[in-house]
Structure formats: C-alpha cells, structure tokens
Subunit: 180 residues, 2 copies
C-alpha cells in the first residue's frame, strides 16, 4: 500500500542517496508547503548523515530553506517521472504544486516540511551549515529521521542526464567489497 512508511536507520541513508537518484525536496514556510526537483546532491558524511545539495537562488524553495532551515528529501520511483519533470518546470511562486500534481503531503515528524506519501523514501533534514550558500547555493543538511516504504524496496529510481532524459535503475550487481 502506497504511503506505509517504516523508519530507516540513519546509518543507511547514504545507500539511498549515494547512487544519485533524482529527488524531490519539500519545504514549508508559513504553513505553505512547496516542492522542487533536484539532482545536485551528494553525501558528505555517513552517520549522522550529512548531505550537501544545491538549491538555486532562482528556486522559490531557496528562501523557505534559508528561512526555516528544514526540508524533506523524497525519492520518487520511476513511475513518477512525468510528475518529477512537471514539478521541475513550474514554480511554487505561482502554483500549489502538491495540489497540481496530486501529491499527498504527510506531516514530517522532526521538521515542518512534509513527506510525500507517493515517494519510496523520505529523509527529514535540517540545515546545519550555510557557509557556501552565498557562493554556490550549497546547503549542508543533516538527516534527522528517515523513512522507507518496505513494500517498494525494489522500486526503480531515476537518474537525470539533462532536459528530461533519464536513465532508470537497471541490473543489480554485487561484488565483494570491504568498504561501505
């Protein structure tokens, strides 16, 4: 059932973000939720998980993220591709994207920003470092709570290659490795 979330150990958050999926980033400012599409993010530290991400000044979410210091990184499955592109092609300045794209906002447990019920993973984050915001729009986030949907553990994610071209997750490979 879509929307059933189970807590994910914070030490495993990197396993969801390291592979570079396109994600949705939600914010909430003054009771108004917004969501943007984002592919420019990287892990910085395993545990507690630190994540660096670029939220451009041109994005309406920039202001909310800066003011509230909170967001949720939600990972959409490939089935949501049309929505992911749609969310990226309009602005929260003009539209309520949750309404327009039929996304179900689910209250965050640690942050005001909402989780997205249709997504396969939701990571609640707080901004912990703004040192490079002015120079690169780069925010450093700490994941404070993470959720996955157990029933969709094998759902495919998308990787963006520019202008709506995506590569979906394909074959899985296992090679014995000593390192995380």
């Amino acid at each position: 059932m879509i929307g059933v979330m189970r807590a994910l150990d914070l030490s495993k958050v990197y396993q969801k973000l390291e592979p570079g999926p396109v994600v949705l980033l939600t914010t909430s400012e003054g009771g108004r939720a917004n969501v943007m599409t984002m592919s420019w993010h990287t892990m910085l530290e395993f545990n507690p998980p630190l994540i660096a991400c670029v939220v451009s000044e041109g994005n309406f979410s920039h202001r909310a993220l800066k003011r509230t210091g909170e967001c949720v990184i939600a990972i959409p499955p490939a089935e949501m591709a049309e929505i992911v592109v749609g969310v990226g092609n309009c602005s929260g300045r003009e539209v309520d994207k949750f309404a327009r794209f039929g996304l179900t906002a689910k209250k965050g447990t640690m942050v005001a920003a909402p989780r997205i019920a249709e997504c396969i993973a939701n990571i609640e984050c707080r901004v912990v470092d703004r040192a490079l915001v002015a120079r690169y729009n780069l925010f450093v986030l700490e994941a404070v709570k993470a959720w996955i949907e157990p029933g969709r553990a094998k759902a495919k994610t998308m990787h963006h290659c520019g202008y709506g071209r995506f590569l979906l997750d394909g074959e899985e490979l296992h090679i014995r490795s000593a390192k995380p």
Copy 2:
C-alpha cells in the same frame, strides 16, 4: 576502439556527472599517478562546470589533490566493476594501482593527473575552492577539459549503493522538459 577520446563541450559535463555514476579520480604527485574510487560528488554549476566532491583525509589521494590542485574524474563503464571495487579496496600508499589493475594512464592535456584510457569519459579538473576541505574534505573543482569516447556513448555506468552493491543504468526515458 578503446581509448579514442573526443573533446566534450564543457557545457555538457553536467550530463555525465548529474546522474551520479561511480567515478575514478586520478592524481599525480611527484610523477607518481594514483587513482581512487568515488561516489560522493555533485555538480555545483553548469558552465564553467563546477563540481564538489569528497576526498577523505584517509584516502592517499587527499594529499596529492591538496598539494597539486589537479585531478581527473574518469567514468568507468559497468564492465570495469571488479576493477572499480578493487581500486576502492586498496591504497596508493602501498601499491601502484595503475599497474595492479592494468589501467592505461594517458597524459592529461591541462593537468598533470592522467586520464584513464579504459574509461568512457575523462574530465580534467582543477581545485578552485578549499573553503570546506578542513570541515568536510569537500573540494570544489572546475572542469577545464573533458573527453568522451564516441564509440561507447551508450555504455552503462554504475551507481553504488554500499558494500559493492551497484545498480547499472537501465531503461532510458525521455520526457519533454524546458530545463537542463
């Protein structure tokens, strides 16, 4: 033929790195080349392309990158998975990884760090910002020259999910998008 490289317009570098492939990062210090495996990287800017990446202090490459300010980001195809894991599981402190893994170093054109002939893309980079090196081992690189192998444009890349588990590129999806 493996190793035939064609220059890639710098404005397209993001299309190679944004999807989050596992990459190899080469350095050269005092005439000695080294290579490490890396998945913690993100684009920061389109053009000139700026890339942020984490090279941990524990990595032998950290010192070389800090001292020389130069590196090459090389993107391996899925066929190199065993090598990619092998490179990540040993240190240049003890071994000559190019020799051990049979990698062909090809002189960089703008930097001293070598390109890797077996890789499908090579991006020559210079460190342009060290502000977050002390805090997060995060280097900001500028891509100064990029190369692709025209004959392997459709080669699959790998996305690391921890401990040698990879998801390879699968199905390709195109959705009309107004944005890069």
